[in-house]
């Protein structure tokens, strides 16, 4: 290296060091791990955008307890090992006080133990029930569990007096989680399973499975599939086979992309969903109404793309951490954890959260509305 270049390098290094050391005391650092690229990117991208939006909004209002909020976001590229190394970086190098994310259940399960060991709270944006059952001291999550979604579908089936259903699920962690839940809860609700079909995540044709279902006398189909792609193919194949029994999908498909992919085949399908995607239809007296409308407007003006449930999960996660910090007037990891458990009646995008030492998800069945697709838009089923 020539001399002037060396001095320049040194100067830059000194400037960088002084910037980081000067701000250390009046900044609260929260970590985030999202699947912003890779197969789970429809989830992670919305979550990352939301975190950036919140960071900007909170700091514009003077930050948290007068300190600047800094969210350090890592992309795990939808892969488990990247999530693990991101968790290590956040805990050991960035010394964050809490972490939000990851976007998916397998990635969350892979890093949970690190947070237990490091004694830093993790608020996951993934849906799998295994994340918080059994309760782990340092781990929380914001999306509604599969159990609640399955329960909501089963009670809707009962209200329509349907007692024979067929299920078709995708053979990954998400689909099999739903499948186990359906197999466990359906008999208790007096509903019989006439067929139990499976497809692989990369499959592009499910007519065979649906033909088998057609030959049983199922009065409804419940499909727990890959968000959007697989579920859209199931909806399309069902229309192609001219099947008229109602189709219930999982809460994972609640994004505008699904309507686009399924086209006319999506009309009339049913699914449990958080109120975010039907924000303009939620009655004005609902406590979530004001928040939902504001989030939808802020997000859509800033990013010029429609909101999805997933961005909402990140909203809930970040705001819960902020709430816990303000509640205890402390940004120490242990205090944040203890205060998260004390949060009651917190209005989020997924529902109204009530945490306790035994309940680290804080939602119940009322967080869901049954929605359908009518003329290419979500509608609440009355």
């Amino acid at each position: 290296m020539k001399k002037p270049a060396r001095y320049l390098f040194l100067a830059i290094a000194v400037v960088c060091l002084s910037i980081t050391s000067a701000g250390a005391d009046d900044v609260i650092k929260i970590g985030a791990i999202f699947s912003a690229t890779g197969p789970a990117s429809p989830l992670g991208e919305a979550e990352k955008n939301t975190a950036l939006l919140l960071q900007e909004q909170i700091n514009a209002k003077g930050g948290v307890m007068g300190k600047k909020l800094e969210i350090i976001i890592y992309d795990d590229e939808s892969s488990v090992d990247k999530a693990v190394s991101a968790a290590d970086k956040l805990l050991k190098k960035d010394n964050v006080v809490a972490v939000v994310g990851p976007s998916t259940t397998p990635n969350t399960l892979a890093i949970e133990a690190k947070f237990e060991a490091a004694a830093v709270p993790l608020v996951s944006c993934a849906a799998g029930e295994k994340i918080v059952v059994p309760v782990k001291k340092w781990v929380f999550k914001t999306p509604q569990s599969d159990r609640l979604a399955v329960a909501r579908i089963l009670s809707h089936l009962k209200s329509r007096k349907i007692s024979k259903i067929a299920i078709i699920t995708v053979s990954d962690a998400y689909g099999q989680g739903g499948r186990e839940m359906l197999k466990a809860l359906a008999p208790k609700a007096g509903i019989e399973l006439t067929a139990d079909e499976v497809y692989s995540p990369k499959d592009t044709d499910m007519t065979v499975q649906l033909t088998k279902i057609k030959s049983t006398n199922a009065k409804a189909i419940v499909s727990w599939g890959t968000p959007q792609t697989g579920s859209a193919i199931v909806a399309k194949n069902r229309a192609q086979l001219g099947m008229s029994v109602p189709l219930y999908l999982s809460h994972g498909v609640a994004a505008r992309k699904f309507i686009e992919l399924a086209g006319s085949a999506g009309e009339g399908i049913l699914l449990p969903a958080g109120r975010l995607i039907v924000a303009d239809e939620v009655p004005a007296k609902n406590p979530q109404k004001a928040l939902l409308t504001k989030y939808v407007k802020d997000y859509e003006t800033k990013f010029k793309s429609p909101v999805s449930t997933f961005g909402g999960h990140a909203w809930d996660a970040v705001m819960l951490v902020v709430k816990a910090i303000e509640l205890g007037k402390s940004d120490k990891p242990a205090d944040i954890r203890a205060n998260l458990e004390k949060i009651k009646g917190f209005v989020g995008t997924a529902g109204v959260f009530n945490f306790s030492p035994e309940e680290h998800n804080g939602l119940n069945e009322s967080a869901f509305e049954m929605v359908t697709i009518q003329k290419g838009d979500w509608k609440i089923v009355k």
Binding site: G38, P39, S200, D205, V208, T211, K212, S215, I233, Q240
Partner: protein, 293 residues
């Protein structure tokens, strides 16, 4: 389950199988002239489908012109790949060339992801999406399109290889490159042709399949793998055997899913492939290699 269910399985199988067959056909055309397995074949299928979607969206010129444009663009891409990735290393061993094609496939997939996004896209059906019903069996008009186009394409390729001087030249290259070159066949040009034809065939497969199955930047991986298996079933080196192998694989898969269990569909199809390779290593329609001393 009645007979109509089995017919339905058969129809799904033949529809998917035609696409496996077209992919397999692309593999064998390149294998015949160059001796390499082109692992970027699945990407041609992906490009055909995804480019149609985007041309339709960008230029708003109607479905069929967009499709023609997509097929044309993919064919050109196939030619470009041969010219800039394969020809510069033509003296290298076959295994190196195969690794080059793997690199090309990752490169193409990456570029598609960056420029066209990671989303899944759908393409309208060619002629309506209402199923036709015969005796309790629902057939999509698109399935009929797929079958018809596949058969026409096979017939044209058959004529090309047996009746035209270029086709015969390509076949000659497959038997002996050095001898072909000695009798005045431009081997380099034949290799370029083989890439053009197989990217054309792949793109057509992708275009006719997309309305049924949706598409995204990464569909080429699985289709390439299935197409390759189809080639092995049919016998590597025999284009029409490969097409038949594809249809067979499609039917096997759908019957397995329907009759045995949908959870073991892929596993069973590949199990049959293994058994076949033990019993008849050269594939169903392939000729055993004869070593002359």
């Amino acid at each position: 389950m009645g007979i109509s269910s089995y017919l339905q399985f058969l129809i799904s199988g033949v529809t998917m199988g035609s696409i496996y067959g077209l992919t397999a056909l692309g593999f064998t055309i390149i294998f015949n002239t160059t001796g390499i397995i082109n692992f970027a074949q699945g990407e041609f299928v992906m490009l055909g489908g995804i480019l149609s979607v985007f041309f339709l969206k960008w230029f708003d010129i109607g479905l069929f012109p967009s499709i023609l444009l997509a097929v044309l663009a993919t064919t050109i891409i196939g030619g470009v790949i041969e010219r800039f990735a394969i020809r510069p290393v033509k003296g290298a061993s076959v295994i190196n060339l195969i690794i080059v094609t793997i690199g090309v496939s990752i490169f193409v997939r990456g570029l598609t992801m960056i420029f066209l996004g990671k989303d899944t896209f759908s393409l309208p059906h060619f002629s309506g999406n209402l199923p036709l019903t015969f005796a309790g069996v629902a057939v999509m008009p698109q399935s009929i399109w797929i079958l018809a186009i596949t058969l026409v394409l096979l017939a044209i390729l058959r004529l090309f290889f047996t009746r035209t001087i270029y086709g015969k030249g390509m076949l000659a290259c497959s038997y002996n490159r050095k001898a072909s070159s000695l009798v005045g066949i431009g081997v380099d040009r034949m290799v370029l042709f083989s890439f053009l034809i197989s990217s054309l065939v792949g793109a057509i497969g992708g275009v006719i399949l997309t309305p049924v199955t949706l598409t995204s930047y990464d569909v080429g991986i699985m289709l390439g793998l299935k197409g390759f298996s189809a080639c092995i079933i049919g016998g590597l080196g025999n284009p029409f055997g490969a097409a038949a192998g594809g249809v067979l694989l499609g039917i096997l898969e759908s019957l397995c899913a329907g009759v045995i269990s949908s959870a073991y569909k892929d596993a069973f199809a590949f199990f049959v492939l293994l058994v076949l390779l033990f019993v008849k290593p050269s594939g169903l329609f392939g000729q055993a290699k004869i070593e002359r001393v």
